[in-house]
Symmetry: C2
Amino acid sequence: MEVTGEFAIGIDIGGTTTKFGIVNHRGEISQKGDIETTKYRTINKFIDQLYIELLPYMEKVGGENLIKGIGVGAPNGNFYTGNIEYAPNLHWKGIIPLAKLISEKFNKPCTLTNDANAAAVGEMMYGASRGMRDFIMITLGTGVGSGIVANGQLIYGHDGFAGELGHTVIRPGGRLHWGTGKKGSLEAYTSATGICITAKEMLHERSNEKSLLRDIPRDEITSKFVCEAAQKGDKIAKDVFKFTGEILGEALSNFVMFSSPEAIILFGGVIKAGNILLNPVKRSMEKNLLPIFQNKVKLLFSELKESDAAILGASALVWEIKPEGK
Amino acid sequence: MEVTGEFAIGIDIGGTTTKFGIVNHRGEISQKGDIETTKYRTINKFIDQLYIELLPYMEKVGGENLIKGIGVGAPNGNFYTGNIEYAPNLHWKGIIPLAKLISEKFNKPCTLTNDANAAAVGEMMYGASRGMRDFIMITLGTGVGSGIVANGQLIYGHDGFAGELGHTVIRPGGRLHWGTGKKGSLEAYTSATGICITAKEMLHERSNEKSLLRDIPRDEITSKFVCEAAQKGDKIAKDVFKFTGEILGEALSNFVMFSSPEAIILFGGVIKAGNILLNPVKRSMEKNLLPIFQNKVKLLFSELKESDAAILGASALVWEIKPEGK
């Protein structure tokens, strides 16, 4: 049933930039803007500024009374508590009761979750997994995040921290993770950061081999640069994505045996590599699956415009707000 | 709300024996029996015999009209279709429309699921995970099965095959699985079968070291025997469980990062090893978890009497039967 004349505010808090927008039921962003996250020393000043920015937008769509609520995606955002808890990439430290503070300032219900979960909800409502009851969202950016939907619901777990698939170990005793100190996690290999490390390792191991990746200083290699080199046919760059894809495929096959999703949606900067990434991922995933799971799981790229996805995902949480907030 | 005077039939179909019983809402088995699964050449003859056996039991509890329905746990039982699909351990081949056949014979609704899922439901209703909305059941028997509950519901996945955690790869390129042909799966190491293989490998590698395990021929070593030797203080036998526990703990930490359960319940013959298994599992799981997950997840043994658990779990499905069957 379509409710007309109602809007949701979506806010995506990133380490550098916070994006926000006003979204209708069809997932159309009618107003959007952004502020620098790092500019506001205290969380209260940050929220005050959000309110100042959003007030004219709310007026434009017909006034505050048409806003049903506010959805926020943020690193380490906990759905159950509404708190951001010890987010390493934000400069506000400790536990921040974000949903409560925003709700009080705007006088609207506010739902918080982590950024990958928000992306999963957005994809389910407006993107590649529309109508699916079982799928897994994998975000491949600076880090690797995930949002898991089963029986049509996000899996939050008993404490709100479910879906940390980037930290599952895929190579026991393998590559050391720069942040967690754990060895062999998926994020250590398949994040943008991990891709750069792989590239540097391969350049070192194959020091006699020509590569476009040698045209810039080692420290300036980015995953975007590796991707562009691969698209130009560079052998080492292509092998970097082959290696990355194989590891990601193995991990995905494990995830499939967990929740048997209809689809796995890949999202984030790394997917710009397109088939250079997707082909080895698919090959490796299928190879590692039991026959009963083979050739069933759709492996898809996000259908949401990347710059809008975060706002859409966060806003989509609003339509799921329950009276008790859970 | 307690419904009195209603009963459920629970049927657990194993490769050798099929157990059945009539169970009330409190999880009390008032009548139980078993038949040999292998004795019945066709599925229809098998179901006819089940009906013959259960008829006097139904009379004893007050007649067929007090039976609300029938729950069945069976290897490769698919909740969505009600079919047993290509079960390697049953002698009826192909796809068997079991729920339909039983429902027609008994004229009652029938719900089918795989044995590990049934065990999870039983534990949730009557056992160690009573009242929990998020937990994972791991069955450690000849094979390794699992049932995953999130948001208070079993996760079946889009096709009914979710929860094959025994086949997730925990040691890429590791031990070859005798049945699947895959390398390094959890089942290859932590099933009763896997434990025997580890014992034989260790006996071979440490051929100069005394061990109670050398008192019997290599081919007669069972996981029960390894367990008894470990309990008597045998060094190699203890190391077998230490190795097994370490691998299981690593796998559990990955599962925790997936669905963040309140508890993990271990079930099946292998748990008779008690703390000889539990201590290394716990140590290894905690070591591999991110700090936000540490010291939160309860690691518990099943509270159900093993001989009754299968019947209880299957019967518990009945109280979940929905009008549309899904």
